[in-house]
Amino acid sequence: MIGFEVETLIAILLGVARGATPLVFAAIGELITEKSGVLNLGVEGMMLVGAVSGFITVVVTGSPVLGFFAAMLAGALLSSLFAVLVLFLHTNQVASGLSLTIFGIGLSAFFGLGYIGTPIKGLQAIHIPGLSEIAIIGPLVFGHDIMVYLAFVLVAATAWFLGKSRWGMILRAVGESHHAAHAIGYPVVAIRFAAILFGGAMCGLAGAYISLIYTPMWAENMTAGRGWIALALVVFATWKPGRALIGAYLFGGVTILQLNVQSLGVDVSAHLMNMLPYIATILVLVLISRDETKIRLNAPACLGKPFRADG
């Protein structure tokens, strides 16, 4: 009996990591984009396009690695559309990001139609003989799929990049004061373009994680608002990578809680339980935004503002 409960607990904790990982990728991608001073609300659209291109690639080639690369490429390609609009044509970033999401939803549904219900073999958790077999700690520390670990690596790398590396500091300078950065001679537009592309690639990866590992299948709109939750996570994290990781795992916990409440014998409508992540997002936003100065001190000062070199 006790053994069964421990196994359930381990399964739940593994589920938390699976629920959190796509949020980590998307939130880190958006975090870098926003640090450069650009607000891209197209996260949901880019995730969906990543999810469908990753899925189709796996159906065709059978290779999850290729699938993840295709998803990153597709996300970056879609984000380049947004980059051209806001960086060269100086369009409103909010409106352009929204249209990216609307376009991405349509595009992914269009190309994914023939693949609804197609089964694929999801990426298996890695198995290290010996280590994975250690009781409790084994599966918890060594029993995830490789992307879970990559997400941690990405967070560490991003924290190092933003805090310690030369280009990371330039990126932050561009986001804090594009005119000053331009005056010193940094290529503001090129840096923002790169940040947007990176954001797109990470969102594509996040989408592919959902369609290849989290629920190995394709369905229209299958990201179900996770792109928007990732956007909220960036605010929650006050633009700090480590906090984005913590936030993502908290949300992963909420998602898994919702899936497991019924199996624990609590009789609540699935529809009501499914509201949890969205309500949690609102609550978290309210709690973090309550202190206006905190947000103002941490948000990149040029976030959402258009930049013209000669303007």
Binding site: L41, L81, L85, F88, L89, H90, T91, N92, V94, A95, S96, L98, S99, L100, I102, F103, G104, I105, G106, L107, A109, F110, L113, P187, V189, A190, E220, A224, G225, W228, I229, L231, A232, V235, S269, H271, L272, N274, M275, Y278, I279, T281, I282, L285, V286, S289, R290, E292, I295, R308, A309, D310, G311
Partner: protein, 357 residues
């Protein structure tokens, strides 16, 4: 070398020319897309844009679909002008439909002529209440209304799912997730016999005129525009930003709620798990395409409504996925935003000084 150069003053021609240019570019891109998929571009464009409205029934369907789009977009546009980004109209529409539907289901055997007006009021209040949440969270806690209004959309659609699977499920419906059909007194009177077009279309038309008057002739309309254009000037003039946030969200929510009521008491006639093919989101495109102006929105709503009908036609005739509608709508908004650059900037050949990339 082509450069982008700021105009000395915004181009009046381009304010109205940009949407037309965007529509033209969307048509070209659409034809190319159909061509790339191996369909005859001319035939598929005909099926998409002309065939759906080649008979009078098609026209009534066009007006029917334009009604919720117009209502949502008129409300949203007021907010967009004031830099209030309510993108949760879909959820507000859903809550309006739920409020009206709950009344229709509870009094399904009523024959009172009062039922319909009460349902309308309930619809408006439902949407209004749902939009009041982001308004409160924004004014009281500075929570970003884009994210909160969108999260509430997911909550609203799950709530609808809960209701039609539980408390409001038709007891005689063999466990289908649907409410019972509304009684005759709970259905919108038809405008054209033999069609699905109902008097809601006329009410929407009236609201367009009313919104036009409010935005162009009243102080609050002026204040909203000033807040959106120059927040600083609005601050010095003593306009309350909180009032603008409340006003635009409540107006947007109320109109979206009314649109939801029109859908369930009109073409649908009951509560179902899904009651809108994304009208609340598409209304964002309609609002921008219509230059955030009520009359422009009316024209834009008709065009975008056509994209819904066109999507259905190419689905039936060419068995293309219905999602082609979303692709068209997304392209339209992209092109529009891109063309809008022509209002304040112009493209110049040759370089006066070194072009800065």
């Amino acid at each position: 070398m082509i450069r982008i150069e700021p105009r000395l003053s915004p181009s009046k021609i381009m304010v109205y020319g940009a949407p037309l240019l965007a529509v033209g570019l969307t048509l070209v891109a659409g034809a190319l897309l159909f061509g790339a998929l191996g369909y005859s571009p001319t035939k598929s464009m005909y099926l998409f844009f002309i065939a759906p409205i080649s008979d009078s029934y098609g026209l009534t369907e066009l007006f029917l679909k334009a009604t919720p789009l117009t209502l949502c977009a008129v409300g949203l546009a007021v907010g967009f002008r004031g830099n209030v980004w309510n993108i949760g109209a879909e959820g507000q529409l859903t809550m309006g439909a739920i409020a009206a539907g709950a009344i229709a289901v509870t009094w399904h055997d009523s024959t009172s002529f009062l039922l319909l007006p009460i349902m309308m009021i309930a619809g408006v209040l439902g949407g209004l209440a749902w939009a009041a949440i982001p308004a409160l969270l924004k004014t009281r806690f500075h929570a970003n209304e884009i994210l909160t209004s969108l999260m509430l959309t997911y909550v609203a659609s799950l709530f609808l799912g809960y209701l039609v699977n539980g408390p409001l499920r038709n007891p005689e419906g063999f466990n289908f997730p649907e409410s019972r059909m509304f009684g005759d007194a709970g259905l919108m009177p038809l405008l054209v016999e033999g069609s699905r077009l109902h008097i809601g279309a006329l009410i929407a038309l009236f609201i367009v005129l009313l919104a036009w008057l409010i935005m162009s002739r009243t102080l609050i309309g002026f204040q909203i525009k000033v807040v959106g254009l120059t927040p600083l000037a609005a601050h010095y003039a003593g306009f309350s930003p909180k009032k603008i946030i409340w006003m635009s969200l409540l107006l947007g929510g109320g109109l979206a709620g009314l649109a939801g009521m029109f859908e369930v008491a009109g073409p649908i006639g009951q509560l179902q798990p899904v009651i809108s093919p994304g009208y609340g989101f598409t209304a964002i495109i309609v609002a921008f395409l219509g230059r955030l102006h009520p009359v422009g929105i009316l024209c834009a709503a008709l065009l975008v409504a056509l994209s819904y009908l066109g999507g259905e036609t190419v689905q039936m005739e060419l068995s293309l996925p219905l999602a082609v509608t979303g692709v068209f709508q997304g392209m339209l908004l992209f092109f529009l935003l891109a063309c809008d650059v022509l209002i304040n900037f112009r493209f110049v050949l040759g370089s006066k000084r070194k072009a800065v990339s």
